[in-house]
Symmetry: C2
Subunit: 323 residues, 2 copies
């Protein structure tokens, strides 16, 4: 029979996985499982405190910005530089809680180097602020050594670590998690005692068995290899069909890259022309709080759902539609 234990047990396996893969140190009790990142962040808003200023990367994940605003927070966009969120700007803001995606910035794709991570942790220590570290696609890194998570580098319990099985396993499970520092865990337990949890226990139990029997780590190795091949096929195809005509950004990790075609088309034109050739690409302007005017706008390109031939064909069609 499936009881509440299914959830507890899954948490134990997630804790072990996070320690081994990302150096995240936590007990299973610190892990909160919920139906998606938005749902977890809505909980977090209630326990971190109302009427604080929340910082979000500019550009950043729009669905997160939406949730912060929805839960009555003041949201401040913080500019990025080539290393991710700009801590100087952060210091000049009144931000108390900052949301970042250091493993593979969403959407621009840069990986935050360790120096910037330490700077960010120092900011939290000095200001008493919190860092929300969303490691949404940290499983997929194709070049270089992985950089330790912010949570593992911080010794002041200022980092809330978030992860999901949406990218690494299957989006339709609706299973994400966050790791709360102990102070916030106390608040959580006070506040959410009347809440029923939101994730299918059947799925939790299945996932627990999947991890327990070693299939999860085999799955990860397998898909990491597959996505790496697809990622490389994408870069090869871009070099073959659009060399010199586009700038590629955010490669080396994750399941998408950005393209900046040098053809002076607007974002709308780029998307529409691609669609006419049957290729779906996505705008980047939606991820800005204040979309900048760009002579050459960027376009988001996902590659996880196509095979290598499909990727090559898709890039050829894009080239045809844009140049």
């Amino acid at each position: 029979m499936l009881t509440y234990h299914a959830q507890l047990e899954l948490r134990k396996y997630i804790a072990r996985y996070l320690y081994q893969s990302r150096g995240v140190e936590c007990s299973e009790n610190q892990i909160i499982i919920g139906a998606g990142t938005q749902y977890l962040l809505s909980m977090l808003c209630k326990i971190v405190g109302r009427e604080l200023v929340y910082g979000i990367e500019e550009p950043g994940y729009n669905r997160v910005r939406f949730i912060f605003k929805e839960y009555g927070q003041v949201v401040k966009p913080i500019p990025l530089d080539q290393n991710g969120i700009n801590v100087t700007h952060l210091k000049d803001s009144k931000v108390k809680v900052v949301y970042v995606t250091p493993s593979h910035q969403f959407p621009l794709g840069m990986v935050m180097p360790i120096s910037r991570r330490l700077e960010l942790i120092e900011w939290a220590k000095e200001t008493g602020g919190y860092i929300i570290e969303d490691d949404y696609d940290s499983e997929f890194r194709y070049e270089g050594k992985p950089i330790p998570s912010l949570q593992s580098l911080d010794s002041n319990e200022k980092v809330i670590y978030m992860g999901t099985f949406a990218k690494s396993l299957i989006p339709s499970l609706r299973l994400s998690y966050m790791v709360l520092p102990s102070k916030l865990l106390i608040e959580y337990n006070k506040h959410f005692i009347g809440y029923v949890q939101t994730v299918s226990r059947l799925h939790q139990h299945t996932l627990k068995l999947f991890i327990e029997t070693g299939q999860w780590s085999r799955h990860l190795n397998k898909v990491r290899n597959i996505y790496k091949k697809k990622h490389n096929a994408l870069l090869t195809a871009i070099r073959a069909h659009m060399d010199g005509k586009v700038k590629v950004m955010g490669s080396g990790a994750g399941l998408h890259v950005l393209l900046e075609p040098k053809n002076n088309m607007t974002e709308r034109e780029l998307i529409d022309k691609a669609r006419k050739q049957g290729v779906l690409v996505y705008p980047v302007s939606t991820f800005y709080d204040q979309p900048p005017h760009q002579e050459c706008p960027q376009i988001l390109l996902g590659f996880a759902g196509l095979d290598e031939n499909g990727i090559n064909e898709g890039v050829q069609l894009l080239s045809k539609s844009w140049f």
Copy 2:
């Protein structure tokens, strides 16, 4: 491949089922699927409007009261009489949105007669208020003819109908739904465009197939029969072992009854003594906003998880512990 269509399709089947079983008239677009009743009610709070007075049955479902308070609403307990919520009291309150469980009041178990339903609908029409009709266990009615749902009786689009697969199928799916009147649907679509849905699509797809192939209605007939037998076994056992010593309330529908043992024990004593005999029974005082002083408190007894022998044995043990 599982796409967004899985959700759309499931909604079509739910709409058909609700029409056939409860006379609920709606298009599939009016059906919102979410990870539990609490989650759906939190959405509803955002679109019905803030700072309204919400009415809830006294006693009523505590997890619902909790959510209304959590989302910043003023919550007013409305007394019940033998027909359910007292509409005279409701009229004297400033309530704009009232939450009711007419098929089987939770926890007291009365079924709201049609006259009261019409009175309630009239209240909504006169005051411009909304009725949330939570039909959480309407599938299980063992005596008499089912009474039409409030949603089917109302012609002013003032009823938000809610249901769940937690009682009728399996709680661990975390799959509930609500049917929005068209005016609220417009608000919903405006407000929640940035939200990702919260229910496993795998489960949605499985459930769609389950309904489509006729297994859902076979399942319902089967479990209705099983629960009816258990329900009758419970009442028989109570007559056999505690005749004249307890008052039974809320029988005839649902998956629980209330017992009022005439032994002048406190609620705590009743629960503790039962537990010592290995029988789990539940307090009713938790469902009150203001628990009344009762010389003979009521105890909630679930019977769905036991077989008929277990039920008989359990009642014997209860009798032993209480008398």
